[in-house]
Symmetry: D3
Amino acid sequence: MTVARPSGRLPEQMREVGIQRGYTRHAEGSVLISFGETRVLCTASVENRVPGFLRGKGEGWVTAEYGMLPRSTHTRSDREASRGKQGGRTLEIQRLIGRALRACVDRNALGERTITLDCDVLQADGGTRTAAITGAYVALVDAVNWLKARNEIKRDPIHGAVAAVSVGIYRGVPVLDLDYPEDSDCDTDMNLVMNDGGGFIELQGTAEGHAFRRDELNDLLALGEKGIGELFAAQRAALAP
Amino acid sequence: MTVARPSGRLPEQMREVGIQRGYTRHAEGSVLISFGETRVLCTASVENRVPGFLRGKGEGWVTAEYGMLPRSTHTRSDREASRGKQGGRTLEIQRLIGRALRACVDRNALGERTITLDCDVLQADGGTRTAAITGAYVALVDAVNWLKARNEIKRDPIHGAVAAVSVGIYRGVPVLDLDYPEDSDCDTDMNLVMNDGGGFIELQGTAEGHAFRRDELNDLLALGEKGIGELFAAQRAALAP
Amino acid sequence: MTVARPSGRLPEQMREVGIQRGYTRHAEGSVLISFGETRVLCTASVENRVPGFLRGKGEGWVTAEYGMLPRSTHTRSDREASRGKQGGRTLEIQRLIGRALRACVDRNALGERTITLDCDVLQADGGTRTAAITGAYVALVDAVNWLKARNEIKRDPIHGAVAAVSVGIYRGVPVLDLDYPEDSDCDTDMNLVMNDGGGFIELQGTAEGHAFRRDELNDLLALGEKGIGELFAAQRAALAP
Amino acid sequence: MTVARPSGRLPEQMREVGIQRGYTRHAEGSVLISFGETRVLCTASVENRVPGFLRGKGEGWVTAEYGMLPRSTHTRSDREASRGKQGGRTLEIQRLIGRALRACVDRNALGERTITLDCDVLQADGGTRTAAITGAYVALVDAVNWLKARNEIKRDPIHGAVAAVSVGIYRGVPVLDLDYPEDSDCDTDMNLVMNDGGGFIELQGTAEGHAFRRDELNDLLALGEKGIGELFAAQRAALAP
Amino acid sequence: MTVARPSGRLPEQMREVGIQRGYTRHAEGSVLISFGETRVLCTASVENRVPGFLRGKGEGWVTAEYGMLPRSTHTRSDREASRGKQGGRTLEIQRLIGRALRACVDRNALGERTITLDCDVLQADGGTRTAAITGAYVALVDAVNWLKARNEIKRDPIHGAVAAVSVGIYRGVPVLDLDYPEDSDCDTDMNLVMNDGGGFIELQGTAEGHAFRRDELNDLLALGEKGIGELFAAQRAALAP
Amino acid sequence: MTVARPSGRLPEQMREVGIQRGYTRHAEGSVLISFGETRVLCTASVENRVPGFLRGKGEGWVTAEYGMLPRSTHTRSDREASRGKQGGRTLEIQRLIGRALRACVDRNALGERTITLDCDVLQADGGTRTAAITGAYVALVDAVNWLKARNEIKRDPIHGAVAAVSVGIYRGVPVLDLDYPEDSDCDTDMNLVMNDGGGFIELQGTAEGHAFRRDELNDLLALGEKGIGELFAAQRAALAP
């Protein structure tokens, strides 16, 4: 069974992925990642302090914040700073990004410092959270390399890699890496976060229309694994010397 | 392979489930649900108005709010009303409850009215969000029956049933319906929301420790399906005339 | 002169009072109190810290927070946590509860710890603040007994008992313990907080309709003293071994 | 029995009362009231709109807001606008002022307009809320006279007068009109709001130290009635043509 | 070229300036300043602490807060404390006042203490920020004299004087010290802050209508210098022994 | 007299200016402007509604919002959305941008629509507000051209051009277009907004160290006029077909 994706992509085809390191100059890691027309700026900032609940334990912390520029979207959204609070979707996404990245960090090896991953969407076309996780990983590696180059840490706190992709059922067909036209018109939307050992870190599936079944889930997971494999390759290429 | 669960339960054993309808008197639906020591009061309130984005469309809305009483937990938590905002976890849970319940409602049949499901945790011992979804479904049915008894709606807007349960990998063993001691010490925690046609509505899995693999996922889904089957039976028994 | 109270009660007749200790399991004191259909969950939480203005003085603190579940009332009220602030009525009531309970506590004997009384209204039918004070006293005693059982305090910080009741002038007749139909339609509404030595701790009277006179005040105080006497008996019975 | 009041006043002696009308020029009523060193600016503002719950009912509304300038007090207090919320004491006082003034207004005669009484404390020395109520009454009369002079209302919506005073037990002796040194060191503090027909509108007594008894209450009420009588005379003198 | 100013003043004529020291009693400096009908209460409060970024550096801090009483204006404005935040205009003005006053203070000579200048507008008729700066300077001098009288500081931290005035182009004519009718109907509005050595501290000009030219700017600066000279004389007279 | 600028620039030399139109795809106008290392994304969004105070008047509105990405700066700043409010500096800057752009717009010709200029700093190195104004002008022109291309407006609402630059006195020498090392270490900092007819729209000068004098002001204005001339050329080049 086939269906025309609005973009003309094949069901198992990802959008073009771009990873540009050093996009801005102040952050210890700064990556502009693009999944097609979705563009997210991911910066990693190192600070020599940890949240209160970790103080004095010799452990570090990795956390994330997420935001969309007001006109990154088709119609302008309110600026959250001006509204006076972050919405539920924003908080949910930044909690997800933080959990995903902590999954590849040995916080004892990091020492009592915090790395904050700021993921700001410059342009949105679906998949901003998966692009953010995938790009934030590269920014995190750069920040850790910055620490290593200054001899501030002894052993590498990063084990493995982390990447994320969305999959969904669009007009009855499982497809990989939903763009906005698909995302706003699909039956099931699932975000996968995996490590490069093939393990699942997060798996969040939502049936927007009809509930999905085990066999559909299996198809989606297979697509996702394929896509994440390509993302690991893109991360490695971007980080290659 | 076996492991001692702190409660002495078998891996595939749920806690005792209690569903008490009519727990408070003002709400159109009011259910106290317990999963063991977890107790959540779920009320359904009917109001003859809809949010702005639905006004004049002839459609209804179902939404949820979630809260924990400050001392529902082992140590006292700050009161969110006093802190001046709901935390990210709260927003995430109430968005989940709302999506889950909307999945079984025909909003055109509901007409231009809103049903708000307030899920307030009186006592927490793990699994508050899954208990909330399972109990809110019963409160929702009571509220819809109240509307039907008053001839305010013509056809039943509820199709099927919705219930939720958590599963996880505790000390290497997949277990069903995590209580707090398990939840705070497990490798993987997954929440399943399903309908009684066997379809998945939500599936949210998080690896807290090691990433989980496909076969573990399969085991978890099987456990969850079993537990949710028992919850549907409990809902039906509670709703029986 | 007589008047039919909506409930059929005599003017000097209180609603049935229920006091259930150990209603939830985590708090050091946990009491469900009911005045007729009004039901308030009062928990006492012990913490080994005091507010900044008391630090290092060897004195303890007793404070209260109050909330209504959104559908404890006839029509649903906004959730204060979601609105982002506690209303004036809420703040006023929780300040009153705190002052009332501090009136029976020797804060030096308590030592540098805080007892927080959370009073959450599960179902409202008038008199929530007086029920809260009366129930919070029992929860406070349980929390102090918990401290004594663990030998954390040497001498009993509680002197005497505290209880509260409302009185009012309903259709020209002074009545005891107003329920919601009376409260929303009375000329004068007064809340009395007393200790079991017969002294007044708080006295707050408001003329909603015509201003009240000295002789009416005297009648109201007499009714209130009678009701509070019954509440002290109910507290003693609940606390009896 | 006698006690030296810090000010040298007799127990039944009020501070000097000053009422200056037309203190500022824009408000329809603008009164600077002083009770000794306590100085409160009370303005009455007329607006041709009512809150949502009164719209279309032909009734008016009277409400109050209260604030203290940051350095009206002995040590500087945080500015509530800068802290981002009004404290519980502020909300409690402004609710009291609003109720007190509504007690002398026929809201049907006022028509669909709102009179807002802003009571801003320029200098605090105890009794700010009683001065505010007493001064706001004069500002309210001026605003109503402004409406009458423009023929905007047909019949006078004000019936009788309203004034307020504090009484307390200072070192065992009932005294009238507590100043700050007495207020911060007294056993019982009571605020009385009365109308000029001798009726009580509000009565709020708090035992800070030992609980007060019926005979003490009677002494306090007698003192308060005396003081309020003097305040009515001062209001009449200020309003005399 | 001439134009009738609404007040009948000449283009180069300031409003009458009044400076009343000791207007309230608690603050270390307390000044009521009036520029015609504009009246601002400026208090200076001394506290023995500094903001975090200065702690331990031996330096002091001078800061300002600004507010308008709700009915200081022609129509009532919302109370910022009740709205829950200070508006942009308020923040902009209080930042300006703080910078202006810091320009004449040697913060090392002040030592580790903060002087807060609260500028509260009792009545507004244009020029509230310039009146606030001019009055706050006098309050600041009084607070510093209070410190000197108690031998808390060794050398005078104040060098020179600071004052401010507005100028503008009203109906084509440069005029000095705009009142509200002029301010709300002018083409260009400029606020000047100067020291008594003839230097500019702040210069903020805004073209509301047509953009202004160099020669107009020169005219405005000349007018401003004249007005500020008169304000320095008024400050000196007010501070004279 | 000469001084080494940290960048090696001559006193009257601007940084390289880059203006890239169409930087993002959803906004009606989208410009990335750079002044050296300072990079600001300026989007113009058209909406067919106006603020309440303009409704029904046939007039349009132009407004601006400003934000800095948390790691656009040397050290990470708090995210304003997360802190729950925009700081005073942010509000001040966005008010300035809005006023500056409204100065070149005929709001009647615009019709009842709002153009919002979002200026988000991707990388900060001094002069973000002047870059924002200069870039927002180009985005505004693009948005107006978009409206014209759709025949939604009849006559061009834009008259002339607007640009902004900073000037300052750095180590005694007047210099043009301050970068961050100069900005954080200069005596006087001034922002100029001008139109291409040579008129001043805004002029904001602040003496950080010593107060500046008339002759210094004249030097600064001359430098600023030169720089703004170059900016108009850059805008014209960017907008050329």
